[in-house]
C-alpha cells in the first residue's frame, strides 16, 4: 500500500510507526493502537488513519470503519478546554438538557463543534459514574456537579482568562 500519499510530518510519522510497532503491528490491536495514537495527537484525522492502515497492513476503509464506529475516537480536534455534558439517565432526569442548551447558547456551537478561537469544544457523554451529583459537566478532567443553567456562565468564566 505504498501508493498512499502521506501528508503527515516526518516526526509524527515515526511516532505512529512506533506506536504500531509497540503492538507488534498486529491487526487485532487496532483499537489499542488508535487509543494510543489519539492520546498522542488529540484526534485521528484521515492522514493519520492512512499511516496506521499502512503499518498494520489493512485497508484504510477498515480503519475508518473502526474510528467512526466508536464514539471515543474523533476526527476533529477538540478545544483547549473540552466540555462534556453527561446526558446519562440520572443527569437527564435532573435537567441535563437545559444545561446543554445553555452551553450551546453561550458558546454558540453545536455538540461536536469547537469554538472559533479553539478554546472550547462541546460533547455529550453517557454517565461518568457520578450520578449522585447529577447533572454533571466535565471541563477537561475537572468535574462539576449539580450544574444548573444559571451556573453555566460561572463555569465558563473560570476559563476565560486562561
Amino acid at each position: 500500500m505504498s501508493r498512499i500519499k502521506v501528508k503527515v510530518k516526518e516526526k509524527d510519522l515515526n511516532t505512529i510507526k512506533e506506536i504500531c510497532k509497540s503492538f507488534n503491528n498486529e491487526q487485532g490491536e487496532l483499537i489499542n493502537v488508535l487509543h494510543k495514537t489519539q492520546e498522542h495527537f488529540g484526534y485521528l484525522p484521515a492522514e493519520i488513519q492512512e499511516v496506521v492502515a499502512q503499518e498494520l497492513e489493512m485497508s484504510v476503509a477498515k480503519v475508518y470503519g473502526v474510528v467512526t464506529f466508536y464514539s471515543f475516537f474523533t476526527m476533529k480536534p477538540k478545544g483547549k478546554f473540552p466540555i462534556s455534558i453527561c446526558t446519562g439517565t440520572a443527569c437527564y432526569v435532573r435537567g441535563a438538557e437545559n444545561v446543554l442548551a445553555e452551553f450551546k447558547r453561550q458558546l454558540n456551537i453545536e455538540v461536536g463543534e469547537t469554538t472559533e478561537d479553539g478554546k472550547f469544544s462541546l460533547s455529550c457523554l453517557r454517565c461518568v459514574g457520578a450520578c449522585g451529583l447529577a447533572p454533571v459537566v466535565l471541563v477537561g478532567e475537572k468535574t462539576y456537579g449539580r450544574v444548573s443553567p444559571e451556573g453555566v456562565k460561572d463555569i465558563l468564566a473560570e476559563y476565560n482568562d486562561k
Binding site: 491487526q27 488508535l34 471515543f72 439517565t89 440520572a90 437527564y92 449522585g132 444559571e150
Partner: protein, 488 residues
C-alpha cells in the same frame, strides 16, 4: 434505622480495603477461594458449587453462571478464554465501576477460578476507556498478583497457569453485548453476530470463551469460601444472593445499595433511598436501563428478582434504578431512551436501525403536540415488530421503555395527543411561562436570572415574560420566591 438488612457480597470489600494493596485483600481471606479450588477441588467440583449456589449473571440476562461455565468446560479446544464484561454501558449505572475500583482482586481471583474450572489459561477484561481510575487499579492489582505468584505460571504450586490482560472499549453501548464485545476485542467494529454459536462454543478468536459480568465474578470467591448452601439461602426461590443497584434520580439518598433479592422496590426507594426529593410525589422507577421499563406505584411492593421484574414489564438489567417524580414526563422519558438507542444502534439490522428512528420520530411528534391517535397505535405495532425481528439484544429490548410507558401511563400520552398538554410540564413545545401579576412583587430576581433577557418590568411592579424570546429554561420559576411564575 430501617428494618432492611444489608448483606454485602459483591461490595464486601469495597471501602474496607485499600484496593491498591494486595495484602489488604489477602488479609480479608483474599485468594483463599482460589487456593481451595486448586488444591482441594476438581474443576467439576467448582462448577457444581457455582451451580448449586444458584448464582445468575448480573449483567442483564440472568443466565445461570454455573451452567455457562459447564458448557464452556465441555467444549474442547487448545485454548479457551475467560472474559470479564466491564463495559457497563447502561447510562446512569456505576456498580461495576465501584467494584473494580474498590475490590479489583475479587474479580481477578474469580476469573482465575473460572479459568481453572473451564480449562482456560487466559483472561481478558474488557473495560470502558471512560473509567481511568478503575483501569489504573486493575493494572496495579494484576501486577501485584503476578508478583506474588497468584497469576502466572504454576499457581499455588500446581500445574495451573492463568494470566489476565486488559482490553479497552471505545464508547459504544452495543459492545456490552457479548458477541460485539468479542469482535471489539479482536480489533473490529463492535457489531453483534447471531447466536448460536454462543461464545462458550465459539468466542474470542473462534475459541470457547466464558463471558461474565463484573458483579457476577465478584460474587464467586465468597461463594467458594462460604459454600453454595450459604449463598442460596439468601434471596428468592429463583434468584439467589444479592443485587447491587445504582440508585439515582429524584431520591434523597443516591448511591449504591446492595440488597438481598426479594427486597421490594418500596424498601429500596423509600427506606434506603429516603423517599423523593423536596417532598414531591413518586411517579415511576426505571430499571434495566434502555432495555428496561418504567414501573409505577402499583409495582412498589413487588419483590425484586429477575423473573418478577420481567413479569412487571421491565427487567433487572445491570442494576440501574432511576427514580422519577411528578415533574418527569413519561413520554419524554421514553423519547430519551429512544434517542439513546438510535445513537447506539450499530446499524447492522434494519428493524433496529430504521425502526427505532421511526419510533423516536413518532415520540417527538407527540411531545410537540402533533401526535394523533393513530400514532399511538403505530407506536405499539412498530415496537412489537422491532422486538421480534432485531438481531441482537439491543434491538430486541429497545422498545421496552415505549411499551411500558404506554401500558402504565397511557393517560399521559392521551393528554399530549388530545389536549396538547404535558401534565408534568416538561415538554417545552406545549407550554408557556407566565407571571401572575397579583403575586409578583417586582423584586426583579427573575429578570436577572433570565439568560435571554425575556423578562421586563419596573422595580416593584409586576413583570412580564416575552414568550417570543423565552427559551423556556425555567430559571425564573426556580428563582421566584413568591410563586408568581407558572407554566400553562
Amino acid at each position: 434505622m430501617t428494618k432492611y438488612k444489608q448483606i454485602r457480597i459483591a461490595l464486601n470489600n469495597c471501602g474496607v480495603i485499600d484496593p491498591e494493596n494486595i495484602e489488604d485483600y489477602i488479609a480479608r481471606d483474599g485468594y483463599m477461594a482460589l487456593g481451595k479450588c486448586i488444591t482441594e477441588m476438581t474443576p467439576q467440583d467448582v462448577i457444581k458449587e457455582i451451580k448449586d449456589s444458584g448464582l445468575r449473571g448480573r449483567g442483564g440476562g440472568g443466565f445461570p453462571a454455573g451452567l455457562k461455565w459447564e458448557i464452556a468446560s465441555k467444549n474442547h479446544a487448545d485454548q479457551k478464554y475467560v472474559v470479564c464484561n466491564a463495559d457497563e454501558g447502561d447510562p446512569g449505572a456505576f456498580m461495576d465501576r465501584s467494584v473494580l475500583e474498590g475490590d479489583p482482586h475479587a474479580v481477578l481471583e474469580a476469573m482465575a477460578i473460572c479459568g481453572y474450572s473451564i480449562g482456560a489459561t487466559k483472561g481478558l477484561i474488557y473495560i470502558r476507556a471512560e473509567y481511568p481510575l478503575a483501569i489504573k487499579r486493575l493494572k496495579i492489582a494484576i501486577d501485584q498478583a503476578r508478583e506474588v505468584g497468584l497469576l502466572g505460571k504454576n499457581i499455588f504450586g500446581s500445574k495451573f497457569d492463568f494470566d489476565i490482560e486488559l482490553r479497552y472499549g471505545a464508547g459504544a453501548f452495543v459492545c456490552g453485548e457479548e458477541t460485539s464485545l468479542i469482535h471489539s476485542m479482536e480489533g473490529l467494529r463492535g457489531e453483534p453476530t447471531i447466536k448460536p454459536p454462543f461464545p462458550a462454543e465459539k468466542g474470542y478468536l473462534g475459541k470457547p470463551t466464558n463471558v461474565n459480568n463484573v458483579e457476577t465474578y465478584a460474587s464467586v470467591p465468597i461463594i467458594i469460601r462460604k459454600g453454595a448452601s450459604w449463598f442460596n439461602k439468601i434471596g428468592t426461590e429463583k434468584s439467589k444472593g444479592t443485587k447491587v443497584f445504582a440508585l439515582a434520580g429524584k431520591v434523597n439518598n443516591v448511591g449504591l445499595v446492595e440488597v438481598p433479592m426479594g427486597t421490594t422496590l418500596r424498601e429500596v426507594i423509600f427506606e434506603i433511598g429516603g423517599g423523593i426529593q423536596n417532598g414531591k410525589k413518586f411517579k415511576a422507577v426505571q430499571t434495566g436501563g434502555p432495555s428496561g421499563g418504567c414501573l409505577t406505584e402499583k409495582h412498589l411492593d413487588t419483590p425484586i428478582d429477575f423473573d418478577n421484574l420481567v413479569a412487571a414489564g421491565s427487567m433487572m438489567g445491570s442494576g440501574g434504578m432511576i427514580v422519577m417524580d411528578e415533574d418527569n414526563c413519561m413520554v419524554s422519558v421514553a423519547k430519551f431512551y429512544l434517542d439513546f438507542t438510535v445513537e447506539e444502534s450499530c446499524g447492522k439490522c434494519s428493524p433496529c436501525r430504521i425502526g427505532n428512528k421511526r419510533l423516536f420520530e413518532l415520540l417527538e411528534r407527540i411531545t410537540k403536540g402533533q401526535g394523533t391517535m393513530d400514532d399511538l397505535q403505530r407506536l405499539r405495532n412498530m415496537s412489537n415488530v422491532i422486538k421480534d425481528t432485531s438481531l441482537c439484544g439491543l434491538g430486541q429490548t429497545s422498545p421496552n421503555p415505549v411499551l411500558s410507558t404506554l401500558d402504565n401511563f397511557y393517560d399521559e400520552y392521551l393528554a399530549h395527543v388530545k389536549d396538547h398538554k404535558c401534565p408534568a410540564g416538561e415538554c417545552k413545545d406545549l407550554m408557556k411561562y407566565f407571571i401572575i401579576a397579583e403575586n409578583c412583587v417586582g423584586c426583579t430576581a427573575c429578570a436577572r436570572v433570565c439568560p435571554v433577557g425575556a423578562i421586563t418590568g419596573e422595580k416593584k411592579e409586576a413583570h412580564l415574560i416575552n414568550s417570543e424570546t423565552c427559551i423556556k429554561c425555567g430559571a425564573c420559576m426556580e428563582r421566584c420566591k413568591f410563586d408568581a411564575i407558572i407554566i400553562k
